[in-house]
Amino acid sequence: MSTTQQQEERETLLRHIGKSVTRVDLKAKMTGRAIYGYDFSLPHMLHGKIKRSPYPHARILKIDTEAARTLNGVRAVITAWDVPNSLYGVMLKDTPMLARDRVRYVGEAVAAVAADSLEIAEEAVDLIKVEYAPLPYVTNVEKALEKESVVIHPDLPTYKAGPPFPVRIDPNRPNVGNHYHVEHGNVESGFSEADFVVQNRFETAAMQHMHLEPSCAVARAEPDGRVTIWSATQSPYMIRQQISDIFQISTSRIRVIAPYEGGGFGSRLEVHSEPVAVALAMKSRKPVKVALTREEVFTSTLVRHPFVVYIKDGVKRDGTIIARDMKVILNGGAYSGGFGMSVCRNCIFGAVSTYNIANFRFDSIRVFTNAPPGGAFRGYGSTQVDWAIECQMDCIANELHLDKIQIRRRNLLHAGDRNAIGETMKDVNHHGVVERVLEKLRLDEPRQDYDSGPWRRGKGFALTTKYTTAPTASAATVRVLDDHTVILFVSGTEIGAGSDTIYSQIVAEELNCPVESVIVSGPDTMFTPFDDGANSSRRTYYLGNACRMAAQDARQQILERASRALQVPESNLMVEDWKIVERNGSKSIKVSELFLKDQTRSGAFLPGSGDLIGRGVWHERVGFLDPVTGRCTTDRAVTYYTPVATGVEVEVNEETGFMRVLNIYCAIDVGKAINPLSVEGQIEGGVVQGLGGAICEELILQDGKPINANLADYKVPLSLGTPHVQAIVLESPEANGPYGARGVGEGPITGISPALANAIVDATGARVYDIPLTPEKILAAINLKAKQRK
């Protein structure tokens, strides 16, 4: 039997996997009954409000809280002197809960109030008087790199860091918090062999996650010293750890419960208002809700790191890239931004996973400035690096008059190749995604342009690869109940990706029962087992595997019990729709008969028929990158790589610089689409979020202050003008993925910006080197091109 036949046969046996099962959360959400973090409240709860810095950089001379404290209805006022004097941060402990002696960006928390009503809390915050002595500030990342720059963190050398992310102090660059270096082959000799050298500088802007539900936390200090937090977080266990670190409370004393989450996109991996809510709850001895406003989300949570990318390539006449030297500078803003430090490392994976370049050097530097902190953002550094690389690939093709697809194919990494960090590449189907997008994009067809007028048509392409990070772990527990229901305990928040449905499908598949039999508990760290969180497109793979193992464990226990009850060997039994039946025999028993019965029923019980609990854990070990050479200590640094191809068709007005995006095609190899409709949804939504960053989104700082921290001035894609995205799904199985599945959340965001910039070049001959690709920049590039032609 051929492999294809075998695969087809296996697939026909699958009952729920690969089917577009109705999402288990949508009905509750569409009737308004689903409770999100922002909706959550407790009786007699106080409302908290945070006093924030109006200065990008200043010394705090004095904080006068007297008027706020004495305002009727105020129950607690806190400043840095009321909370533990500790710095927090998942990678680098550099962030104070409330600023003590210095503020480092506009919007930094300085004090907080809890009051009987939000109105009183707002009034009290206004009554707090803070005396500042403004300091010189720096928001330009390349200025902040200079030795003479304003120093943002004079105490940086004393900060504690996690072992995989050591602080690398550079006396000549006092604002550099992190530096990674990769050296592969010999870049200098590579350049000496090159026929051409192509070098460029690319930039990206500060983009905001703009999750629709603003960040919010409700905290309650329990009488016995425990703390309960309700937060729509992407990672309940990460929040628990951070609260433990800040307040020096043992993790078992902290309970994090996550309601439904109105989007996160990376921002809510990090604590936002949770620590302040806990401190206010401790002080007031009442539950406190701290719900951020939209403006606070813009100014005081996180942004996608703005990057400056220098890229220099040595190219042979035939298009072989023989040497590549990249320097990537991340504007980290005022603090480590939680996972911000690892964006500086992980962006490397975006640069080494598509092309095979014999001589390669990469430096990534994360720099502190007085801008809002950069943190995790869907795409996690890959997007910014891919923006530069995929523009550069077209620049090379244009300069050498080579075919744009051909030059990409010529330099591709293949299965078995060692990449620049020493990983052995698995079979990543780049060719497949390229083919499928080209079928739609039809680059071979003659250009269909307008005969006259200012509009020009163009097509653009980009090939990218998204990694899924490691080492991480996920655990799942299933509890089978005597009414033929199974409760799945997982700490994976339903952030919107459809994960609760995916887990339900997997558990139902393994227990051979209807999907409706599965109840997903929702995260509660007191009951649900460990999970690393909703990051790095990891949950379908990690939690999917854990759910599958937990369900298999439960199935095995069901069979053992049935075997004892029926006196039939387990191997002769099968489970179907909560009934265990004998193969080629007549005996059968319902699963409900395998549980303890109360005295009003039979009172009888099967020995060993207590709770039926199945457990599953998935963990992957990988190597670490050597800080000096960037080489991985083993042949694998990530969990897997996912290839993505993006094609676009645009029209550009040469007189105004205005661009219409006509069509977007995005192909991604997901291994196995466990829920095809959800996969399509992830692709469409990821591309459109990327489209926002590509054409209009930028948090603009003026005099160090965000000037468009609202939705009238910060533009995001709207229903009008957003083109239909054609999602193309490939399924080359991932060896260890559940049913062959990989994650899909981030891949679609990685290629849209360069594809659009390349399409603008195709249409007009003009290139824009920094996103967003606004009409002003496009027009300036067109005018520059016209001048050069003269």
Binding site: T22, R23, P214, E684, L711, L718
Partner: protein, 160 residues
């Protein structure tokens, strides 16, 4: 501090309410905090995101920008009033197509769509997109949402 609270009568989802409110309270605040109708969301307080959209006398409005005193004597429809079972054609089309993800925008989108379909039962795709232009969805890219609303319009037209 004592500020003049005002007694206001309004009808929400078919039920008459008499409430005391500050003159500056938004309809959104009253719906969520006083009446416990948290199906109507709050996303920006400045009429920028559309997650707070409800219908007042049949017209879709941003409840965060709408002073509750203005709603006195009027009829307010929120997501909770659409269909408790979730079987309104707009709800079922969105569920059938997995058209929303985090769905925080969903109640607002549905109320904008209902207001459109009440006045224009057979809209074109462009008309649907125009009706949704004040409702930001950050997860989906709008394609499946627009498709669902068009499908719902056909279903509603058939049942008429």
């Amino acid at each position: 501090m004592a500020r003049a609270r005002k007694r206001i009568s309004l009808n929400v989802n078919g039920t008459d309410y008499s409430i005391e409110a500050n003159p500056y309270d938004s309809l959104n605040w009253i719906l969520r905090e006083e009446l416990g109708l948290t199906g109507t969301k709050r996303g920006c307080d400045t009429g920028g995101c559309g997650s707070c959209t409800v219908m007042v006398d049949g017209k879709a409005i941003y409840s965060c920008m709408y002073p509750v005193v203005k709603a006195a004597g009027k009829t307010v429809e929120t997501i909770e009033g659409l269909s408790e079972e979730g079987d309104h054609p707009l709800q079922s089309a969105i569920v059938r197509n997995s058209a929303l993800q985090c769905a925080y925008c969903g109640p607002g989108i549905i109320m904008s769509a209902k207001s459109l379909l009440d006045s224009n039962p057979t809209p074109t795709e462009t008309e649907v997109r125009e009706a949704l232009v004040g409702n930001i969805c950050r997860c989906t890219g709008y394609g499946k949402v627009v498709k669902s609303i068009l499908e719902a319009s056909i279903e509603i037209a058939k049942s008429r």
